[in-house]
């Protein structure tokens, strides 16, 4: 029991949770609005899309890469889906948009995967390239425009609510979207895959040391390829959810989100060098960033400060884990030297 406790206290997630709790209390004290039912539902609502993206970004980070193409990938996949369905006058349910977005997302993800699994170039540089290819296809080749009337199935899905939370004082109401269940489902599936399948353990293994993973019998190329396919699928789902919830297709709405999502995952304790990290941490990191973004207005800080706050958050968050890592390494090598001299 005691070791279990000390393990919890030492975990990165614990500190993150502590930061979130303290931050919420501060916001509550300053505004009196944080712990109201509708604000909490608003935060859950705002977390769906970044949360979904974070699952994908987390998986790539664990494998030792950095993917910056997922917003462009999601935009292109959903733009194609919406355009085709609107032109065809599709009036049916949400299943077809989902299938189409997932299919396109998988293809685009496979494109990333082919490059990432075969070229010894940092994934960051590859995905910088594919990201601009994706947005170039969307904006140049397809000449993307805003689509105000999305298929009925999609807007129904976007409006579907689990329950409505009401603020007794201000009378404001907030809807809990059905898509929150989708986030939970994706997180659950990713958790099971990462923890209990060979594929999932392989992702951790090749993030730790690629040649060691290869020696241990993991097919590194295949794992990488399917990893990016999976990330493409998750990103496309996130894009579809965002479009449905906005009730219109805004092609460039998602672009530029990659930094915030990666920051969230890294804040959650995932090592940028790969191999370690937990989904819980990634979700807590996302929650922290969503809270910061949503609550600046509550506390009365102008939205101008958002970029600045995000930058500070990234640097401080990654700085803390970097300092921890250096300290641990130093301790380890000191112990080794002592053992050697004894």
């Amino acid at each position: 029991m005691r070791s279990y406790l000390s393990k919890i206290v030492r975990a990165n997630e614990f500190y993150l949770l502590l930061v979130i709790v303290v931050l919420s209390l501060i916001i509550q004290a300053r505004s009196g609005q944080f712990f109201t039912a509708n604000n909490l539902v608003d935060i859950a609502n705002a977390m769906v899309v970044p949360g979904l993206f974070a699952v994908g970004a987390f998986m790539v980070l664990v494998s030792g890469g950095i993917d910056v193409s997922f917003p462009a990938l999601a935009s292109l996949a959903v733009y194609v889906t919406t355009r085709v369905l609107v032109d065809a006058g599709w009036g049916g349910g949400i299943w077809l948009p989902f299938l189409m977005a997932i299919a396109v997302g998988a293809v685009l993800g496979a494109f990333n995967g082919l490059f990432a699994s075969r070229f010894a170039v940092p994934v960051l540089i590859i995905t910088l390239g594919t990201a601009s290819v994706f947005s170039g296809i969307m904006q140049g080749v397809l000449g993307s425009v805003q689509i105000p009337n999305i298929p009925a199935g999609m807007s129904e899905f976007g409006r579907a609510t689990l329950f409505v939370a009401k603020n007794p004082q201000s009378g404001l109401t907030s809807n809990m979207p059905v898509s929150f269940l989708l986030l939970i489902a994706v997180v659950a599936i990713a958790f099971v895959v990462l923890r209990f399948t060979t594929f999932g353990r392989g992702i951790y293994a090749l993030g730790g040391d690629e040649s060691a993973a290869s020696r241990a019998g993991f097919n590194v190329r295949r794992i990488k390829f399917w990893l990016y396919v999976a990330v493409g699928v998750i990103a496309a789902i996130a894009g579809l959810v965002r479009t449905s919830m906005m009730d219109q297709m805004h092609p460039t709405n998602l672009l530029g989100m990659e930094l915030m999502v990666i920051a969230a995952v890294v804040l959650g304790g995932t090592a940028i060098t790969g191999g370690t990290g937990t989904l819980t941490g990634a979700m807590l990191g996302t929650l922290l960033i969503v809270i910061v973004q949503n609550s600046m207005i509550l506390v009365g800080i102008p939205t101008f400060w958002q970029g600045f706050a995000l930058g500070v958050l990234i640097i401080v968050g990654t700085g803390i884990s970097a300092v921890q890592l250096t300290r641990r390494n130093r301790k380890n090598s000191a112990a080794l030297i002592q053992k050697g001299s004894a």
Binding site: I125, S132, G307
Partner: protein, 347 residues
């Protein structure tokens, strides 16, 4: 493998470097194509002058990214630094010489602005360097974070609006032409490139950069002060980015926090295209400068086709980057079949 060993020595003859030769060939083909397809534009001085005004913006940034990449890092914050310094200098100039003040105040404002921007650039770079070298955060994360930070500062300082109404002396100096032909931005770029070249190939600092980039631990054990080297490298990158900011300020005649948002990718693309190893330790200045010119010629060529939308540009940039990655790999293995196999590592 052989190629890697030879490219480790940065002082080998220029034309023995496959990469530089390949780029020069691409440039020659591109120029011939340009001359055949659009002779009117190709043989007009105006085309070349507008190119010379444009490419220093991202060319200077690419020089900074190159230095960072040679030591095994990367600098993604250059656009943030450029915009932050542009806004800072613009505000300072407005402060010293408000609209309607006389010429001498205008020149004073100009000098102060240049001084301030160099200081801001160096400080911003030093922050990057300290975070990379002292706190030991990976360079990608540091510069992603400081990009947000610097852009955030730019937004706060400017209120998110474009800052304009600069003293006319600024535009006058920046639009002036040496011998009536060579535009000021090109001169700034040439000075920057020459200084970087001297630093890389004629000073001990340059040799140390390559050593640091090929093996940091070995460099440390051979007595290099890696911390100070890293910090100085990012400071140079910051100063180059701030010069780019001054050029952008002149070209747009205003400053805004989100100008040049595509330049991050473009700078990385140029450096990789120029043959710098993304993992550090090799790459040469001539390759990067050739890559800058190739991309600018490509871009100007596209501009002469009015029916091709500007949105095609990212597609072409990204496509070229991926193509370069593929071609580089090709040269390394001489064996395409290996790429299609399912077994093995990313080679």
């Amino acid at each position: 493998m052989l190629q890697k060993v030879t490219s480790l020595n940065p002082r080998l003859g220029l034309f023995r470097d496959q990469h530089v030769v390949r780029l020069a060939a691409i440039l020659a083909l591109l120029l011939i194509f340009f001359a055949i397809v659009k002779p009117k534009n190709f043989f007009g001085l105006a085309t070349w002058q507008s190119m010379a005004i444009q490419f220093p913006e991202f060319g200077l940034m690419a020089l900074g990214v190159m230095l960072a990449m040679v030591i095994g890092g990367i600098d993604l914050s250059v656009v943030g630094i450029a915009n932050m310094t542009a806004i800072g200098s613009a505000l300072l100039m407005l402060q010293i010489a408000p609209v309607g003040s006389d010429a001498s105040t205008g020149y004073l404002a100009l000098a102060a602005a240049i001084g301030l921007s160099l200081v801001i650039g160096a400080l911003a770079g030093a922050l990057n360097g300290i975070l990379v070298a002292k706190v030991r955060i990976p360079a990608i994360l540091v510069t992603l974070g400081t990009f947000e930070l610097f852009t955030g500062i730019a937004v706060i300082v400017s209120g998110g609006k474009p800052t304009s109404g600069l003293p006319p002396q600024y535009a006058e100096v920046m639009a002036s032409r040496l011998f009536g032909v060579i535009p000021m931005p090109l001169i700034i770029f040439i000075i920057g490139a020459v200084l970087v070249g001297l630093l890389m190939y004629k000073s001990a600092f340059g040799t140390k950069l390559y050593m640091l980039g090929s093996n940091e631990t070995a460099a440390q054990f051979s007595g290099l002060k890696t911390t100070s080297l890293i910090i100085r490298t990012y400071m140079i990158s910051g100063v180059l980015a701030s010069l780019a900011g001054l050029v952008m300020l002149a070209n747009y005649n205003s400053a805004k926090a989100d100008y040049g948002s595509t330049y991050t990718l473009l700078a990385v693309l140029i450096v990789v295209l120029g043959g710098v190893n993304p993992n550090g330790g090799s790459g040469r200045l001539s390759g990067v400068i050739l890559a800058v010119v190739v991309l600018q010629v490509l871009s100007s060529l596209l501009n002469t086709f009015p029916n091709i939308s500007n949105f095609y540009r990212p597609l072409i940039w990204g496509g070229v980057l991926l193509l370069v990655i593929v071609v580089n790999q090709w040269g390394k293995n001489n064996n395409l079949a290996r790429l299609f196999r399912w077994k093995g590592n990313a080679s």
